[in-house]
Symmetry: C3
Subunit: 338 residues, 3 copies
């Protein structure tokens, strides 16, 4: 694929053996696995020295017309590969494609360097090989593991601990937090600020309740651009390992998630709500406070969850209910509309 | 409560008399009010030298098992306090707890200091005791009252006036604005930028209408992380005293609110809409432009307000209507779903 | 109108001839077009040396009581203008008003200057007359056209190309992008960061798919405060000329819009969705991925678009459907609620 060299490094050429291994696939016996490939590309644009993939039958026409030198696809579709193209058979097709892309385009390694304008407290500690960008700020007592990357203007607050390989994007800020390894904050993400907690006086005034908790981010957590994760009030706000937040997501104080949760853009989770493992929420979904969403539950885009959701159920709508019920309601509403 | 000393100062020990006074409560005659307490904690973890509280019957089991040395609770529940624990009777229980927490954990006072990297215009004026962080920017003609705190990278624009004790968080920006005392912008908040106003040409081009107003923030207004408040076009955008915005909230140009409004995360108020006093909007609610929401009205999470809401009414749904009607509709929709 | 001189320059006086020309209107024969006007103001506050406008019959009472020296309005309403006030007849009334306001209040021209604290890479290139603010960062290989303005802390990433007259607001960041002329990023906007793309391993882990595309911003595109536009994964994310995003909007990777689209605050467009020309989406609307919205379609506030929308249709609701159908449904739901 023609990546723009202004922004992306050129692909690293690979031989077929490495591509097949990365894809977790196999090729027909007798295939020349020393054959070199220059890069990866979509079916419609790939050339004979490029690898492509198909993971959806909708693109079979594109496959038939493709000039790709090799195509990663499911064994069931092996017969669809045009002659002259090597079929790389991989049951986990999309994962295989992802790993082949990463082979050709490995993420850039940190360049060990501290920009002269970075303001790093004397008692902060930086592991080996950190890359600290211009105007980044690292406050007193903060500890960065090896190979962390701070973008321009990133702010790591007092006492914050980042595990090895964390990446804090431009303009992101993190305070009152402990992060595991390879945690990523995309530009403008906000972690650790005071949550929305206050008491009301008899005359309608508000007094802030001290927010004395922290944010704990498990290994490999990723937080999208301009997303917000508030620290806990009396306990901690916790995102379990591997959990990913898209952009403009809100996590209220004291929320806890298990591992591998996925929160698409503009989702909002109110305070003290608990998510199990592998919970997914579609874009703009909202969840009230103090409820539980069980392991593997899937919440639709724009849903409004107002009570507990059992594990492995799919809920939709506002107020959210089991998807089957929601769909029947929609069918009835369509009738009303005619 | 075990606060993490990486991030939070240790609690300041207090004698019972001070705790009772802060809580606005009273204890049984003859109680030794010189008794010392080390801190405050939730019921399940508090020790004999800690104060706790109960403000919801749901936690009575936790109360019965608690080792807390003193518990703040409503006079009606006085009999539930375990023997050995001092009952601090306070009708406004949560407010009392808030004030006791603040007694043990007072918010840190500004440290009068101007970081050498702060870029402060020669004709800006700073009151006594301001704390200005690294890479903060204060533009020409800006005026900061006594004891203001600017976090790293905060930007206070040309001519902006901040009353005493304002706090502008990391990466927040404020322009075209006049703020009262103790106004707080959390990290990444955006105040005073150009609103979304343009005219359309016959060929479909857009021309920006000059936005010549300001933002006026009353005393004690708080604006959450990454929230946005646009300046007015011909008049001002106004947030009344004590009004609080959670994170990722949008306030369009020319909106005006009364005092003590509460806008939970991801709420959006379109331009020229008016909120009275003490209006509350649940998470992700939206309001069209040019309508009025009366004093004390309460709008549900995810509601879509498309017309005026009378004072002290509770509305829900999208399009929003009175909550009673909304609930009947939901009941009917559930029937349709079965 | 009394603009606050703390924040806005005083209006530039104009003679009537210039005002009429800007308004694209005409006045009665014999009118003295050398008459001077000091500024522009709303009907209720304008004085005899100010110009005003009316573009909605709702304000006729204000017109009748107005002391404005001249009023821009539609020819059909010419008779409504009070005696002593000059009627400036313009069919495109609001556009005329916009242009007259811009005549009195021209946007400030860039002040060619580079703040000494700006961190500009040696191989970045800046066109003539750029205004670069404190702590702005311009990375290696970036190219800024003539007259670009970077606010405090703005970040222009490696290789980014900005056409002439672009304005990057305080704390905004742009990477992996090519922008045309007069593109505006409001404070805190985020353009070019990695999109939300990952493959799932059999054990529930996530691996990021390299996001190898860019963001292309057409001439005159404007992106609101704290809005996010992710770069493409294999192709580009594209906003067509003149398209405007309000605040807190999310654009997922690989989205493409035509010209002149309008996305009101807190809208979210999922990845790979296509918008034609002049598509408008009301506040908080959401669109799933991989669908198409045709030219001139209008999507209501809070709508949830889950399939293709034909050109020039108005859709509303969640799931969204044609507005007529939606309104009938709402009528039926109201009956259910009673």
């Amino acid at each position: 694929m023609a990546v723009d060299p202004r922004f992306h490094g050129a692909p690293h050429p690979q031989d077929l053996a490495a591509v097949v291994a990365a894809a977790g696939g196999h090729v027909a016996a007798g295939t020349d696995t020393t054959r070199r490939f220059a890069g990866a590309a979509p079916l419609h644009s790939a050339g004979p020295d490029e690898v492509s993939f198909l993971d959806n039958r909708r693109y079979l026409p594109a496959l038939r017309g493709s000039r790709a030198g090799a195509v990663i696809l499911h064994p069931d579709l092996a017969a669809e590969v045009p002659p002259g193209s090597v079929a790389i058979l991989a049951a986990q097709t999309y994962l295989g494609w992802c790993r082949v892309l990463r082979l050709f385009h490995p993420p850039p390694a940190p360049v060990a360097s501290i920009h002269p304008t970075a303001a790093i407290a004397a008692d902060a500690s930086l592991g080996a090989g950190c890359e600290i960008g211009p105007y980044a700020v690292v406050e007193s007592g903060a500890e960065l593991g090896a190979g962390c990357v701070l973008g321009p203007h990133a702010v790591v607050g007092r006492g914050v601990v980042l595990g090895p390989g964390c990446r804090i994007g431009a303009h992101a800020s993190i305070s009152h937090a402990i992060a595991g390894r390879e945690v990523v904050l995309h530009p403008g993400a906000r972690v650790g600020q005071e949550g929305f907690g206050f008491a009301v006086t008899p005359t309608g005034g508000f007094e802030t309740v001290p927010q004395l908790g922290r944010v704990l981010l498990g290994d490999h957590v990723e937080i999208g651009a301009n997303s917000c994760v508030d620290r806990g009030s009396a306990q901690d706000t916790v995102l379990g390992p591997g959990t990913r937040l898209d952009n403009l997501v809100q996590i209220g104080h004291n929320v806890r998630t298990g591992r591998g949760c996925v929160l698409v853009a503009q989702v909002g989770i109110s305070g003290s709500t608990l998510l199990g493992d592998f919970v997914t929420l579609g874009g703009q979904a909202g969840v009230v406070g103090h409820v539980s969403i069980g392991d593997g539950a899937r919440i639709s885009a724009q849903a409004g969850v107002s009570k507990d959701v059992p594990a492995r159920q799919d809920w939709a709508g506002s107020p959210a209910r089991p998807e089957r019920e929601y769909k029947r309601t929609i069918v009835q509403l369509r009738r009303l509309g005619r």
